[in-house]
């Protein structure tokens, strides 16, 4: 399995200039989407749509600055417990099932988010979150039993080569939407989904460029890249 992953990583290395920016973009976009109804972004309209503090904030100009945040949701990140629970729930892989995952968590526990406050989320923790997600993706994509379980009912269960499964935008969207549905859950707004689809489509196209479209290994590489991009994003890591 390690050899296969190494192959995938080699392909991904060709995208070194592109992928990190893409992933960061997805993280930030989903982050922005996640906090769209929360503290900070409501400052311009907080007088109009906060039902539980209307009495205090009515009158616009006379609003008490101490009450500026009244009724608003503080933006949150999942702490490592929520993160592990989410990754387990959405992938179906318990953290203790495979030593590679358990060892990564044990060895990097201090790098994973400890606080639920988004303001406390560091770049190290974002990176550790992404890396942990990729561990789960390795098993989903590379282990045949896990892949068959996870992709059951989709067209990717048996790793059809890209010329059969990823040859047009409809097929690519099918993969992206499958991941979004599995990883971000049913509560994703259409606008958030569209943005993620656009970003992921670019990632898929870039990943496929110059690759052997008749090879299942290429499909595997795409599955891994897309999995990492979505599972390691703010849609999973924020609440």
């Amino acid at each position: 399995m390690k050899a296969r992953i190494s192959q995938s990583i080699l392909v991904l290395k060709n995208l070194t200039a592109f992928l990190p920016l893409m992933l960061l973009s997805i993280f930030l976009v989903s982050c922005q989407a996640n906090v769209s109804g929360v503290l900070g972004s409501h400052s311009s309209d907080q007088n109009s749509n906060n039902g539980d503090n209307g009495d205090n904030n009515s009158g616009g100009d006379t609003q008490d600055p101490n009450e500026a945040n009244a009724g608003l949701i503080g933006p949150g990140a999942k702490d490592y417990r929520g993160l592990e629970a989410t990754l387990t729930a959405v992938t179906g892989i318990p953290r203790t099932k495979y030593s590679a995952i358990k060892d990564y968590i044990d060895q990097n526990e201090s790098s994973l988010p400890m606080s639920k406050y988004l303001s406390a989320l560091s770049s190290t923790q974002i990176l550790a979150t992404f890396n942990l997600a990729t561990k789960y993706c390795e098993f989903i994509v590379d282990r045949s039993d896990e892949r068959e379980r996870f992709f059951k009912g989709s067209s990717f269960e048996n790793l059809p080569p890209p010329n059969q499964s990823l040859s047009n935008d409809t097929q690519k969207l099918k993969l992206i939407d499958f991941y979004l549905g599995q990883f971000w859950g049913p509560g994703v707004l259409a606008t958030q989904k569209q943005q993620a689809e656009t970003d992921m489509m670019a990632l898929l196209n870039q990943t496929l460029e110059g690759q052997d479209l008749n090879s299942s290994n290429t499909t595997k590489t795409v599955l891994y890249a897309a999995c990492s991009g979505i599972l390691g994003s703010g849609g999973t890591a924020l609440d």
Binding site: G76, K78, T86, S115, G185, P186, G187
Partner: protein
């Protein structure tokens, strides 16, 4: 006539205002409600919702019932509220370093046990309770008195097991091999020489790692029962048991080294949301301040009067409740006779053991010498009367008592405890500090928390001090809508 017209206009205006108000309350689109439901679910459970749950919560929110949507999330079958949110919220309170990454312990397991079973949560400070794995997970050992007290048989689910070896596992009565970690987890609850809870945390580590629905696989036991298994000569008396305060995990924070005064600091911080500095009172009587406190640091008695006394006067009087406890090298110790005997040189040298209470005993010989676990509350008058002391239903005096249980009960019925829990729930749910108006609203909710929220009877959450109901009441404060 004019009066009638004027009255009509007022009525019509009022009705219009009410209509507009109701529109504003319920004017939330399906997408907005779904987005709120998604955030609320993940905030309360740590994981994404299923489609069924999301739909149910969305409908509740669109109907203006954010509180009920919160209860749907709390009661979801994934148990995320208990396993992720509650454990994450209370773990930092369980240890001296406020480390959020400590594993499940008897402290956090008992928090979860009390809340999932709808027990009044203020019992956390005084009840003779500890949550451990259920009887279904229990394994019983029997010593053979005819064979040098060796372990000869092991029962699992009431049936004898065959031991394969010390380390490789067990066979059940049908010859099926049992999962070793699962067996190991339960052995620790009622282990080789009785309970091993006070030697390590293995029971809870294994419970968390090997029993996915562990919040539902626990049962309440009395701490005295579990304690007494370990040291028959030093059985913990019921009067010295105080819920989480005497859990093994918090005992590590409270009773390691020192003079056990830190217990009061930890209680104030964890359950009153107050630093000790906020509770300073230089006017409190200092007759319980012990002999180890220098009354004239560096030769200046004003330092004691103006600084030391303001904390020690209240703290020392209360800390006497914990005089019999100690925690050394992973080992929870209790000795109800610790203060009985004549003080020896060994005691005065500050060696380990409950007699650490006599540490630096010569600093001020006229100071207080603890003789038992009697405590005295110097905070009921003066500035700390604002903590809201109230006589518990048992009639226990708020001014003095004997042992940790009585003290815990007095602390549990303060307004400060309920106010602190409401604020903690707000911060966990909304992830920010409350505004001044919200803080006032939280105090009102805290008073209702004490009496119970009758509206949640159908959710089995209407009892006094019900934490599920408290989360439900607080959620609408930042997730929008009105109850």
């Amino acid at each position: 006539m004019v009066g009638l017209r004027s009255m009509s206009r007022i009525i019509v205006s009022s009705l219009l205002a009410l209509f507009c108000l109701s529109l504003s309350v319920f004017a939330i689109s399906h997408d907005e409600a779904m987005d709120l439901a998604n955030h609320l679910y993940q905030r309360l459970t740590g994981i994404p919702p299923s489609q069924v749950i999301l739909d149910q919560m969305t409908n509740d929110i669109m109907a203006g019932h954010v509180d009920k949507a919160a209860l749907v999330a709390i009661d979801s079958s994934d148990l995320g509220f208990y396993k992720n949110t509650l454990v994450g919220m209370f773990t930092p309170l369980s240890n001296e370093d406020h480390d959020p990454q400590r594993p499940l312990s008897d402290f956090t397991a008992t928090v979860v046990g009390l809340i999932i079973n709808n027990k009044p949560f203020n019992q956390a400070l005084y009840a003779n309770v500890i949550y451990t794995p259920t009887d279904d997970l229990q394994t019983y050992f029997f010593k053979d008195p005819n064979n040098n007290n060796q372990i000869t048989s092991i029962h699992y689910n009431g049936n004898p097991l065959t031991r394969i070896s010390n380390t490789t596992g067990f066979l059940d009565e049908f010859g099926n091999r049992l999962d070793v970690p699962k067996v190991r987890a339960v052995l620790r609850t009622n282990g080789l020489s009785g309970d091993r809870r006070y030697e390590d945390n293995i029971t809870y580590l294994d419970l968390q790692n090997n029993v996915p629905d562990w919040p539902r696989e626990m049962v309440a036991r009395s701490q005295t029962e579990v304690f007494s298994q370990l040291r028959s000569g030093r059985q913990v008396q019921a009067e010295d048991v105080a819920g989480l305060i005497t859990s093994r995990e918090m005992a590590n924070a409270n009773f390691s080294a020192g003079t056990n005064r830190v217990t009061i600091k930890n209680i104030a911080s964890d359950f009153f949301c107050k630093d000790l500095t906020q509770l300073q009172d230089a006017t409190a009587a200092d007759d319980f301040v012990r002999r180890d406190v220098d009354r004239s640091p560096n030769g200046d008695s004003r330092v004691y009067q103006n600084t030391c006394r303001s904390c020690h006067a209240g703290m020392d009087g209360l800390a006497n409740a914990f005089s019999y406890f100690d925690f050394q090298t992973n080992h929870f110790a209790y000795d109800p006779h610790a203060l009985d005997a004549t003080i020896t040189d060994r005691d005065l040298q500050g060696v380990n053991g409950p007699r650490k209470i006599f540490r630096a005993f010569d600093n001020y010989p006229a100071g207080y010498r603890p003789v038992d676990n009697t405590w005295s509350n110097r905070w009921t008058t003066g500035p700390n009367a604002s903590l809201g002391w109230r006589t518990p239903p048992s009639g226990q005096s708020v001014n003095h008592g004997k042992g940790a249980a009585q003290l815990g009960e007095v602390l549990a019925y303060t307004k400060a405890f309920s106010d602190c829990m409401a604020t903690r729930v707000f911060k966990r749910t909304c992830l920010r500090d409350p505004t001044p108006n919200e803080a006032t609203q939280l105090i009102s909710i805290a008073r209702q928390f004490e009496q119970g929220f009758s509206a949640y009877a159908s959710y089995d959450a209407s009892g006094k001090y019900n934490m599920r109901a408290l989360f439900a009441q607080v959620a609408p404060m930042c997730f929008g809508g009105e109850n």
